[in-house]
C-alpha cells in the first residue's frame, strides 16, 4: 500500500509549489480597467505558493494528524482548562448574521450582536459577583493588562501617585508579572506559605502606600483555594491597594463563590478556558474583565449599553465609560469568542454552571486520591479543579523526571500535563481533568499513570526515550535556539 513517508508530509508549501497551479479561482474584472499607478510604486514580483486545492487539503489534513487535540485525546493540561468545546457554539459564531457583520456598522444595524454582548456582560458580572464588565480584551493576558491599567487609573484619579509596585505571588503565571510591568509597575514577589496559601506575614510586611494592588489567582496555580483569602483582601484594602483576581482558574468556582463577594475589585475571565472558546493551537482567546463599583468608570472602551426610549423600546449601543483607560484593540473584542461564551453559558443555565465546578473538582480530587501513593503530593489538601503532583520521588529513586513521565503519557495517547509549573514545586506535574471527562476516562488515565510509575522502576530508559511512536521523537530545542531557522528559504 502506498504510504507517504514522513519527509513527504513535511514538505513545505513553497517546496510543493509549481508555476501555474492555483488553489482557487476568482471572478474576472467586471468594471472598466482603471489607470495603474506609476510602475515605480508597483511590486515586480511576489513569491507565494502555487498549489492546487486538493494538495492544500491533503497537506494540511496530513499535518493536522500530527496534533493531539481535545476532540481526539484526553488533555489534562493543568491551568489550561482543556475542556470539550461544544459544537453548537461554533455553529452559532459562524452564522452569517454574526460572522459577516462589519465592526463599523452603525449600531441600529447590529442590534442582535450588541444585545448578545450586553447579555454576556450581565451573565459574566453575575457569575463573578461584579458590577460591570467589558468584553474588549482579546486574551487573558490582555485582560490582566486591562485590569492593572484600571487599577493604575483609579489611583491616579484620586491623586495617589506614590503607588509604583504590584504584589504577585511566587506561584503566579508569568503573564502576571509581565502584565504588571507593561502597566508600568515594579513587581514585588510574595512567597507562598507551607500550606500553599499566601504568606500573610510576608504580605503584611510588603503592603504600604507604594503598593497599587495584589494580583492573586484564586484558586491558585497549586490548584488550592487560598484559605487566607478574607485576611489577604483585608490587608491589601487596608493599605489602600486593590485586589486583582486572575480568573484563569474560574472554572473551579462557578456557582460556588463569586470573586466579587470575596472582595476582589477586578477579575478577568479567560473565555477560552472556562467558557469553551476552542484553543485553536494557541488562540484566539478572549479575556473579559469584570469590576466592582469603584472601577466601573475606568473600564476599557467599548462597553455595550442598553437604552430604553419613552415608548419602552430597548436599543443597544457601544459606549465609552467616563474615565476609561482607553481602547485595548481596534474594535470591540473577539466577538466570535463572545458568541461561543454566550451560547455555552445559556446551555448550562443556573444549574449547569454549578455542575461544571462540581464535576471539575470531583474529577481532580478523584485523580488525587488514586495517585497520591505513587506520586509525591507537595500540598496534601483537598484540591480544587486541578492537582499538582511532584515527580521528585521518581527522580530521586529512578532518575526519571517529570518531563519523562509526561512524554511517556504520549505513548498512551494522553496529552502531557503541565510540567515544571508552578515554579515553586520541584518536578511539578499539574493535572486538570476538567468536568467534561467521564469516570471511565479518569480510570484509564489513573491506570496509565500507575503503570508509568511502575515502568519508572522497571525500565526507566523507556520513559527517558519517550515518546516512541510520534512523528518526531524529542526535538533539539538547544539547536533551534542557537541557530534560529524561522522561515522557509529557497534551497
Amino acid at each position: 500500500m502506498f504510504s507517504p513517508d514522513s519527509d513527504g508530509r513535511r514538505k513545505l508549501l513553497m517546496d510543493r509549489s509549481a508555476p501555474g497551479r492555483v488553489g482557487t479561482t476568482m471572478p474576472p474584472l467586471d468594471v472598466p480597467e482603471q489607470a495603474l499607478p506609476p510602475a515605480d510604486m508597483l511590486r515586480a514580483d511576489l513569491d507565494m505558493p502555487e498549489v492546487s486545492e486538493a494538495e492544500l487539503v491533503r497537506y494540511f489534513s496530513q499535518i493536522s494528524q500530527f496534533n493531539f487535540s481535545i476532540d481526539h485525546n484526553f488533555y489534562p493540561l493543568g491551568s489550561c482548562t482543556m475542556k470539550y468545546n461544544p459544537k453548537l457554539n461554533d455553529e452559532m459564531a459562524g452564522l452569517p448574521g454574526m460572522a459577516e457583520i462589519h465592526p463599523r456598522q452603525p449600531a441600529p444595524t447590529v442590534q442582535g450582536a450588541l444585545k448578545l454582548m450586553h447579555e454576556l456582560q450581565g451573565l459574566l458580572a453575575e457569575i463573578t459577583g461584579m458590577a460591570g464588565a467589558s468584553l474588549a480584551p482579546m486574551a487573558g493576558a490582555e485582560g490582566e493588562l486591562t485590569g492593572m491599567l484600571m487599577i493604575r487609573a483609579y489611583h491616579l484619579a484620586r491623586g495617589d501617585t506614590k503607588r509604583t509596585a504590584a504584589l504577585i505571588p511566587d506561584s503566579a503565571h508569568g503573564t502576571n508579572p509581565a502584565s504588571a510591568a507593561m502597566a508600568g509597575y515594579d513587581v514585588v514577589t510574595l512567597p507562598t506559605d507551607a500550606n500553599g496559601n499566601t504568606d500573610l506575614d510576608a504580605l503584611r510586611a510588603a503592603v504600604g502606600d507604594d503598593i497599587a494592588g495584589f494580583m492573586l489567582t484564586q484558586p491558585s496555580t497549586l490548584g488550592l483555594f487560598d484559605t487566607n483569602i478574607t485576611e489577604v483582601i483585608r490587608i491589601v484594602h487596608d493599605a489602600g491597594g486593590l485586589l486583582y483576581g486572575d480568573g484563569a482558574n474560574l472554572n473551579a468556582l462557578l456557582g460556588r463563590v463569586k470573586p466579587g463577594d470575596l472582595g476582589f475589585d477586578v477579575v478577568h475571565s479567560n473565555l477560552h478556558k472556562t467558557f469553551t472558546q476552542p484553543h485553536g493551537g494557541g488562540g484566539p482567546g478572549a479575556g473579559a474583565v469584570m469590576v466592582n463599583d469603584r472601577l466601573l468608570p475606568f473600564l476599557p472602551s467599548p462597553v455595550v449599553e442598553r437604552r430604553t426610549d419613552a415608548d419602552g423600546n430597548e436599543s443597544y449601543d457601544l459606549a465609552s465609560p467616563p474615565q476609561t483607560i482607553g481602547k485595548m484593540g481596534a474594535f470591540h473584542g473577539n466577538f466570535g469568542a463572545l458568541v461561543r461564551a454566550y451560547s455555552y453559558i445559556r446551555t448550562l443555565g443556573d444549574s449547569g454552571v454549578n455542575a461544571v465546578s462540581e464535576d471539575a473538582v470531583v474529577n481532580a480530587n478523584y485523580v488525587l486520591s488514586q495517585l497520591k501513593d505513587l506520586y509525591d503530593l507537595p500540598y496534601d489538601r483537598t484540591c480544587m479543579h486541578e492537582v499538582v503532583f511532584s515527580a521528585r520521588n521518581l527522580k530521586r529513586d529512578y532518575g526519571v523526571s517529570a518531563l519523562d513521565v509526561a512524554k511517556r503519557l504520549i505513548d498512551y495517547g494522553v496529552h502531557p500535563p503541565t510540567m515544571y509549573f508552578p515554579l515553586i514545586v520541584e518536578e511539578a506535574l499539574m493535572i486538570e481533568p476538567t468536568e467534561t471527562e467521564s469516570r471511565e476516562t479518569l480510570d484509564q488515565f489513573i491506570g496509565v499513570m500507575r503503570r508509568i510509575a511502575q515502568e519508572a522502576r522497571d525500565n526507566p530508559a523507556l520513559l527517558r526515550d519517550a515518546p516512541h511512536d510520534t512523528p518526531n521523537t524529542r526535538l533539539d530545542e538547544a539547536a533551534a535556539a542557537r541557530r534560529p531557522n524561522l522561515r522557509w528559504r529557497p534551497q
Binding site: E477, A478, A481, R482
Partner: protein, 129 residues
C-alpha cells in the same frame, strides 16, 4: 569534582582568573553551566565598557532559563570571547577554558579579597546553595 584552584569564585557561580599583570578573565563555573543546561545565547559587553563588582555585566540563556552574569571584580573590558557569541555551547563544553567570557583590566585588585577560593567555593556548593 573540585573546582580549579588557579582562580577565585563568587556565590553567583562566576569565576575570575587574575594574571600577574592585572589582566583578569571571567567565566561561569561548571556547576553554573550544568544547572543552566544547554546554553543557547550569551550577551556580553563591548570592549571598553566598565563592569562593577557584584553587578550584572550580561546575560546567559539556556532553552528555558535566563541568568544574569555577575562581575566578580570591577574593571574595563578589554576583550570578549567572540567564539562564545557564535557558539554558546562552548560554555557547556569548556567552562574553565574555551568557554571564558570576558577579559578585564582590573580597577582595584583589593576587591580580590572579597572572593572565595576554590576550596571555599566547593564547600559553598556542598552546603547546598
Amino acid at each position: 569534582m573540585s573546582s580549579p584552584s588557579d582562580r577565585r569564585y563568587i556565590k553567583d557561580h562566576d569565576w575570575v582568573q587574575v594574571e600577574d599583570d592585572g589582566a583578569a578573565t571571567f567565566g561561569i563555573t561548571d556547576y553554573a553551566q550544568d544547572s543552566l543546561g544547554d546554553v543557547v545565547f550569551v550577551e556580553l559587553p563591548e570592549p571598553g565598557s566598565q563592569v562593577s563588582q557584584s553587578e550584572s555585566f550580561g546575560e546567559i540563556e539556556s532553552v528555558k532559563a535566563v541568568s544574569e552574569l555577575v562581575a566578580p571584580l570591577s574593571g574595563t573590558v578589554t576583550e570578549r570571547n567572540e567564539a562564545v557569541l557564535d557558539a554558546p555551547e562552548l560554555v557547556n563544553d569548556s567552562p574553565y577554558a574555551d568557554g571564558w567570557l570576558l577579559k578585564v583590566e582590573l580597577a582595584d585588585p583589593a576587591e580580590l579579597d572579597n572572593l572565595m577560593s576554590a576550596e571555599e567555593y566547593d564547600s559553598f556548593l556542598a552546603s547546598g546553595s
